[in-house]
């Protein structure tokens, strides 16, 4: 248990540094409320949803089973991560095999080698949106209980600054990147917010 505490302490230290690094970035300014129409707001949500529901994003926004998903041209249907992997409650696999055992600081240059980033972890279970509809994810993104405790502006800042989110646009060889870019997605979130954060009706 000593090592678990050590590992968690290390992770906590990293997350604090990571959070401070996010804070150091220039804060985003919200657009004037009402300056974007409902229609444009919904169009911007559609773009945000394309990003958030893309496998590079959604495959790690999984439920409390902690089982990440795999998908891509060579996988056929989206499927659970191979090797019986679970990130567990810690979301970094400490209780089984740590994500960092295989996922290093950079993407493997070899096709089917593990992707990597300076930090590799699952989103918290309450932020699960894998397999949810556009309307459900839209409502979730507005709910601090299920979006990591963020305002919409903070969600935009998270997309704008977080290195693991940015990995979605630089996922290494053999993986399709998320659509648009971090900057375009941030811009869409600000416009969606200015339109009053409208959500599509249930499908």
């Amino acid at each position: 248990m000593k090592k678990l505490i050590f590992a968690l302490t290390g992770l906590t230290a990293f997350i604090v540094v990571h959070a401070l690094a996010e804070e150091e970035e220039a804060p985003l300014a919200p657009l004037e409320a009402g300056s974007v129409s409902q229609e444009d707001g919904l169009a911007n949500w559609a773009k945000i949803h394309e990003v958030f529901s893309h496998p590079r994003c959604a495959n790690c926004h999984v439920d409390d089973s902690g089982i990440p998903m795999w998908s891509g041209p060579s996988y056929g249907k989206t499927r659970p991560h191979g090797m019986f992997i679970s990130g567990g409650e810690t979301r970094i696999g400490i209780e089984f095999v740590q994500c960092g055992t295989c996922h290093g600081r950079e993407n493997s240059p070899t096709p089917h080698g593990p992707p990597g980033n300076e930090v590799w972890l699952l989103a918290p279970a309450e932020m699960q949106w894998f397999d949810k509809s556009s309307q459900e994810i839209c409502e979730q993104i507005k709910d601090p209980e299920r979006n990591g405790g963020r305002t919409i502006l903070e969600v935009a800042e998270h997309v704008s600054h977080d290195p693991l989110v940015h990995w979605g646009w630089d996922p290494g060889p053999g993986r399709e990147a998320a659509p648009y870019s971090a900057a375009e997605t941030t811009d869409s979130i600000l416009k969606w917010q200015a339109a009053g954060a409208p959500c599509p009706s249930a499908e």
Partner: protein
């Protein structure tokens, strides 16, 4: 000495080593080819088999894919886990259950199991499978691996 390389210090199995290698050389290459530590094995080179597993500050790492420049602490290989006179509990359990067949994957299995038991001292079958399913064994020793992990866990807990 490698003229274009970088001078690096590496602590392995309690001993300081100086190596002159490129920072992006995989740790496994440094261990095997530079230091002659051949317990960790090369299987796949892309973290898909576990044969190269070592510890860095107690955490299991696939040494085939970790650039030596990213090594963040002391490295332990199977050679440093225990000694013939004082086996690590996992090694002793492996012998008790005669886990090894050809043996090629076994140092990786043992290192993975030892790191796992440090954080999960009383695992059930599912936890053992989750922890060790990424360590492949072409000889199919999985059933004995699971039993040996349980024996080692009990030994480490003092029961």
């Amino acid at each position: 000495m490698n003229e274009t390389g970088n001078h690096m210090q590496l602590k392995v199995n309690g001993k300081e080593h100086e190596v002159e290698v490129e920072e992006d050389m995989p740790l496994l290459w440094v261990l095997r080819d530079e230091l002659g530590i051949t317990g960790p094995k090369y299987g796949c080179g892309i973290t898909a088999c576990g044969a190269c597993t070592v510890h860095i500050d107690g955490m299991a790492i696939r040494s085939c894919s970790m650039p030596v420049g990213d090594v963040f602490g002391e490295v332990t290989t199977i050679e440093g886990l225990g000694t013939p006179d004082a086996l690590h509990a996992v090694q002793a359990a492996w012998i008790e259950h005669q886990v090894a067949q050809c043996g090629y994957c076994q140092s990786g299995q043992i290192m993975a199991a030892a790191a796992f038991l440090e954080v999960n001292p009383d695992p059930d079958d599912e936890a053992i499978d989750r922890a060790l399913s990424a360590n492949l064994c072409r000889c199919g020793t999985y059933v004995r691996v699971r039993e040996a992990v349980k024996t080692a866990a009990a030994k480490l807990r003092g029961v």
